[in-house]
Symmetry: D3
Subunit: 130 residues, 6 copies
């Protein structure tokens, strides 16, 4: 387990990213994901730049993006990611009921994906040439 | 590969499900996923009942549910499911730009899930006791 | 895609494994899995020795072992493995109805695995100390 | 982590499902999987109905179905599911030796699935047209 | 399936990335991965910048990085990625024998990962506190 | 969780494998992976023989093989395997910087695998017929 690198012990390069995370998110703390990435500053900088770009409001709103993030993380069983991104989703308005429905869809999709694998269902002409 | 069972050759039990799928979706055809499940009528009936309940409008709207479905299917590389559920999502309003942003989030989540696995990042106290 | 190495063009070392596969299975042909492994004779020899030992009758009968093999292969979407091991299972007595029930269980397990991930259900004391 | 909802604090709707689980399984307690699903009664009811139907005796006996369930759960690393379904399998007669052989098959299948992926082995004509 | 966007039909923004890919790699063509990403120029630009940074010579040499890329792609069964990154690895010196040994390690790791999951092996004190 | 079987309580058959592990690796202890496999001596013996053969120096050096092992284990989130094989890699010379770069490649590959899945990128002619 990588020990999170706290602000007080971080290099100027790492602190600059932490500062940008806090400023962008309008919060006064940094979660452990970034503090473990700080063991490799180029990765910390690069992943933060990616996350900042990908998760910003666009054609999809930020809450929908968080729901998609959680759906992937539940499929892969990333406990940390489920905890951090469901917290982010709640902050952006996700209700308990919405989380439960998300889990129901994720469960169903993982089930039907395997039914498709087991049958090797041929793709309908209408889906190929819409 | 399971051969899809067409309406003309289907039993009354199977036709009843096909009819309900077409009536519920207000369309005049049934896609191959259901036609391969028809090789086992109890599974056809059961999975349709599940899909009908899980994918109906609720705390999450039907488009968001389709986006979550696609996110899982891309993570698992279910080609048929990506084709069928992205078609369903487009019918419910998903734009090209939204699909591209969905893929960006799915890609990023699959990447950061592994960064978390590699570091075994400890879950922040604030996430455990919000 | 690795080109399968046919018996006629195989080295003596590879032919010896092909011969043992055919003798053990009492058949007169070798399927492509072994013919692609033949590009690396040590792997061909090693994997065949493993398969021969693991899949032999033991506390679990050979059909049950094939069903477990298929269940894993459906979960991972290995088309070749589903084709070859469901053929092996049919040869050992698997019926259509049994294959359909296998798929139903595999689908359900993949679904409930994710419901557990999403809830991070604590393991019951009775399961830990039976 | 979702807190399990105990019988004493459960709604009538949830208790009805708990009662049916205990009556069907002829036991006097309910395991945590159902108690976390109880946070969303429609999912609790729906998944229990699915499990009851899928896991009942059919063309495959209940023990074989549990073994398949465990094989999927080991492949996906669902600790809770391995604990609960291997306990269910033991109750239905699974011996230590059988569990060990199951793990050997699951391991081998996960290995050979990747050897197939790496070689992209072409499916034999005999498997496509048996 | 996304249609690859050819240079002739690409926007100036997309061409600039294609040009940088060809200049960096000292080749006169662009492979389809980039041509499908071109449907969303921000993703094309972002992923290329990431790949350029991550895959450059560093503490690990470029061939070792390609081998790791292939190992992940075989585990996930990404046919396109196996084809493109094993081609890249061969260009950087990977021999047939090395590819075969890579597959053997990937297969073994996927097997032993599941043996660990099935036993839930406790992490040795010496690994936790080296 | 399987209880590790210590040398003092092990059968002669198990001790023989433990002895060979220690002799081969020139160490005076055995890690828990082997001690849980010892619950099924045929599996202990078989997996050790496989690991000994696959991980020996060959066309790929032992460090590169360990890096590939870790890459697979991070993709699958096998905590034990990450701990044990990153320890083995460090013993063979892996630096912190190399581990960080490995994680960066593993993360990127898991991301781009999904971008490929979402676009179903067609394999370039040049990769199919090099």
């Amino acid at each position: 387990m990588s020990k999170p690198i706290e602000y007080a012990e971080a290099s100027a390069e790492v602190r600059a990213v932490y500062d940008d995370i806090m400023a962008t998110r309008k919060i006064d703390w940094v979660n452990n994901f970034w503090k473990v990435l700080a063991h490799h500053p180029p990765t910390l900088r690069r992943i933060w730049a990616n996350a900042k770009e990908v998760m910003q409001p666009g054609a999809l709103d930020p809450l929908t993006k968080e729901l998609i993030y959680v759906a992937v993380s539940v499929t892969n069983n990333c406990k940390y990611c489920i905890a951090s991104h469901s917290a982010a989703a709640r902050k952006k308005g996700m209700t308990d009921e919405q989380y439960q429905e998300l889990l129901a869809v994720v469960g169903l999709a993982n089930e039907t994906n395997r039914l498709v694998f087991g049958h090797d269902a041929p793709i309908d002409e209408r889906f190929l040439n819409p």
